[in-house]
């Protein structure tokens, strides 16, 4: 066949092959590089913030290049600090977490895992990547307009965000809204593509309950995103109009309601957390069976729990607003749904632990990161219950306890889970093995320093240390905690510097790494067992037919301890 089913021939020109490619594998890698690039910025911003918190209003090493009026000889003023916290959050959630876990992993893996040759809409796929790239450029450009970048927090609370008089930020915040709007458009296109692909393009035999769990996580995330983002798009339109044509939807003096923004934002915001979370957990679900050499425990239970958690996530949003002045009568119902939502996640975590139990574990780098993700995520999940319980939340709201909590959920998910996924699928993506020794160094360094950064934050948060303050030394009652702040900052520096090990390993292995076999981990799913490494244009040499579930390891009476999905029982694995 000169061309495969989607009607596109293999491109030959450089532009069509690597830049405006419609091959899901190339697009997946483009998302990967975009997210890693943006992660560097997000990390750099964290460093500037941490330095300011430890040694307020001193010249920050490595900040001298920032032009005035953002910084003055490396000293950052409060306005820029606010822009940093805003953009750090925005970048890490929308421009790192989503493009890495959905954009890169989803694009690369979903078609391969279901046996398809590409996405359902390859051109739409390309457009979605270039839309988020445009969004990233718009976001970065917002630093350089008059008044500086958005500084109303990543949640953009009104009226702070609704009228430039509060922050002095003009077009910076408009551009922030536009960048988010473009990002949403990009992932709407992506979500439609993922769902249509999984629904219509599974190979024969690939029933819904034979899908690798990663695919389930990706499509659940896509559904959650598509159902939750609508109200925030509506909110973004209203906010932009407030700022540009003089409406007052969120401005009390003009008859508007600032709480309306919070409702619209968090109706999206909580499902969004799961949009980012689920694909990260999905990676763990793929990695655990491979390196324990046994099926994942409770496949269907995990699927149903995920769906229940997804549905519940639409009923918890007001837990972010317990101290916002909402009707106390609606506090308790939201407190209850919030505590309920931890049940399906607890089920998933127990399924993970049961999967590990008694397995003959191969402690490779991806497996270490997977275990690290689970352990840290448990801390994040448990501390979420504190926040969900309204009486406790009233005390810890807007303190570093909350900051520590959500970093304990999102960091393990996006970074530890993301690293697990990258170390695991790197051989398939780039045809080379990553260095194991460096990988293990990277794992231990990252998890230890991460905990050194964020466990103390629980302490200072419980001690009443507010988040989103520029200079803790302005408050007498915070002064005794300053030593902890300094410790956190040094730990954060160590955490960030440690990532150089990964960056080196990533690029070095890409060129110098040991050549990867088709199925180096001896896995059963199609992307490993049926596709060559790296997969060619069109993915498979012949269309695989699926005979088994995704995790058939250690089956009795087999020559090998794994049973590829596309090989009939009894016949010898290829």
């Amino acid at each position: 066949m000169s061309e495969h089913g989607n009607g596109h021939a293999e491109p030959t020109s450089f532009l069509r092959k690597y830049v405006f490619s419609i091959d899901h594998k190339v697009i997946g890698k483009q998302y990967l590089f975009l997210s890693l690039f943006m992660a560097l910025f997000g990390g750099l911003m964290a460093y500037y913030m941490r330095w300011q918190l430890a040694w307020p209003e001193t010249a920050i090493p490595g900040a001298g290049w920032i032009p005035e009026p953002m910084a003055f000889g490396g000293i950052i003023p409060p306005e820029f600090y606010n822009a940093l916290i805003t953009l750090h959050g925005t970048i890490m959630v929308f421009f790192v977490g989503m493009p890495l876990l959905l954009g890169a992993l989803g694009n690369y893996l979903v078609p391969l895992m279901i046996g398809a040759d590409d996405m359902a809409f390859p051109r739409l796929n390309m457009m979605s990547f270039w839309t988020i790239t445009t969004a990233s450029l718009v976001l970065m450009a917002s630093f350089f307009v008059e008044g500086g970048a958005a500084s109303a927090g990543w949640t953009g609370y009104a009226p702070l965000s609704a009228d430039p008089i509060h922050t002095g930020v003009g077009w910076g915040l408009n551009l922030w809204i536009m960048a988010l709007a473009l990002e949403f458009t990009s992932f709407l296109m992506g979500g439609i593509n993922f769902l249509t692909t999984v629904v219509t393009m599974r190979v024969p035999g690939m029933t819904m309950f034979r899908l690798p769990l990663m695919v389930w996580m990706q499509i659940t995330a896509a559904v959650l995103f598509m159902l939750s983002v609508g109200p925030l798009i509506a909110g973004a339109i209203l906010l932009l109009l407030d700022r540009t044509v003089g409406t007052g939807f969120f401005i009390p003096e003009r008859g508007g309601d600032p709480l309306l923004w919070q409702h619209l934002f968090w109706f999206f915001g909580h499902p969004e957390v799961y949009v980012v979370l689920l694909p990260g957990l999905g990676a763990i679900m793929e990695i655990l069976p491979v390196f324990t050499r046994r099926p994942i425990f409770g496949y269907k239970t995990i699927v149903y729990s995920t769906i229940v958690a997804g549905a519940l996530s639409f009923l918890v949003w007001a837990h972010h607003m317990f101290v916002s002045g909402i009707d106390p009568q609606i506090v308790m119902p939201f407190s209850i749904t919030t505590i309920l939502i931890s049940v399906p996640f607890a089920v998933i975590i127990f399924a993970f632990m049961a999967s590990l139990w008694g397995g003959s574990i191969r402690f490779t780098t991806p497996m270490l990161f997977a275990i690290g993700t689970i352990v840290t995520f448990i801390i994040g999940g448990v501390t979420g219950i504190f926040n969900g319980s309204a009486p406790v939340d009233i005390f810890i709201h807007d303190t570093y306890f909350v900051v520590a909590h959500f970093h304990f959920t999102l960091f393990p998910d996006v970074f530890l889970g993301g690293f697990a996924a990258l170390y695991f699928w790197f051989p398939k993506m780039f045809g080379k093995m990553m260095n194991e020794t460096l990988g293990k160094v990277h794992f231990w360094w990252t998890t230890i320093t991460f905990n050194m950064v964020f466990i103390p934050m629980f302490l200072i948060g419980a001690g009443g240390h507010m988040r989103r303050i520029y200079n803790p030394l302005q408050y007498d009652f915070l002064k005794p905690m300053q030593d902890i702040n300094i410790f956190i900052t040094w730990s954060a520096v160590a955490l960030l510097v440690g990532q150089l090990v990964f960056i080196f390993n990533f690029f070095w292995s890409m060129y110098r790494g040991k050549k990867a076999e088709d199925n180096p981990w001896e896995a059963t799913t199609l992307e490993w067992a049926a596709a060559p490494t790296p997969p060619p244009h069109g993915n498979f040499e012949t269309v695989p037919t699926v005979y088994h579930g995704p995790y058939e390891y250690s089956c009795p009476g087999q020559e090998t301890d794994w049973q590829p999905q596309h090989v009939e029982k009894g016949s010898v694995a290829a």
């Binding site: 061309e3 219509t200 109200p231 509506a234 044509v245 309601d257 269309v543």
Partner: protein
């Protein structure tokens, strides 16, 4: 190409979208999985409509919350909405939905002549709806109701305008389908474009009565 192996009758029912699966590569007949019977483009469009419904829900909720937070709605110095005219206009839009339904029925029966007739009717009714609405907006602006005159005016123009924009966009798509119909591009078996256009049209027609009831009547 492997898609030739699919019997022509089945291909027609699947439409263009479903031919996107690859062959077995070894020249053996393509064995479709049950999933491939779903039309991709239409499925994708329905997903899109689902997320659009959520955007409308967000706007309608905003409208309700803003209204609930105001003691006098509409504010005393703001004009009342043209309930009766818009009621008649609502009928025009609903009729356009009926015309679109007839258009779909025509092509399902292979009558492309009557397809063109009903599609043109849909266009005419849709244009009437937009025309009357534009005219009423002019009058409202004349009475001093603008985007920034009050939250009442603002959310009215956002919500109604957002819907009007959707009708307008759907009309553009509809005109393309009309042009392709007169060029005899659609058959009983290959009418994906008509189906997608119809699905979107039913969506813009379907959300309107909700908006009308909440904004004009309630």
């Amino acid at each position: 190409m492997a898609e030739l192996a699919v019997p022509p009758g089945i291909r027609g029912r699947l439409g263009n979208g479903a031919s996107g699966n690859m062959g077995n590569g070894d020249g053996s007949p393509y064995t479709p999985s049950p999933a491939s019977h779903i039309n991709k483009a239409l499925f994708g469009l329905l997903m899109f409509i689902g997320s659009e419904i959520m955007v409308f829900s967000g706007m309608v909720s905003s409208f309700l919350i803003l209204r609930a937070g105001t003691t006098t709605w509409p504010p005393v110095d703001q004009p009342r909405l043209p309930v009766a005219v818009t009621g008649i206009n609502t009928l025009f839009l609903l009729l356009s939905g009926v015309a679109m339904y007839m258009a779909v029925r025509s092509i399902k029966r292979g009558q492309s002549g009557s397809l063109l007739k009903w599609l043109s009717g849909t266009v005419a009714l849709g244009a009437t709806f937009l025309g009357i609405q534009g005219f009423e907006w002019f009058k409202l602006v004349g009475f001093g109701m603008t985007f920034s005159s009050s939250v009442y005016g603002g959310i009215f123009y956002v919500l109604i305008g957002f819907h009007a924009l959707h009708v307008f966009g759907a009309m553009l798509g509809l005109l393309v389908v009309v042009a392709r119909t007169s060029a005899k591009k659609y058959t009983k078996y290959d009418c994906n474009g008509v189906m997608m256009c119809a699905a979107y049209w039913f969506f813009v027609v379907g959300v309107w009565p909700v908006i009308y009831a909440l904004v004009y009547l309630a």
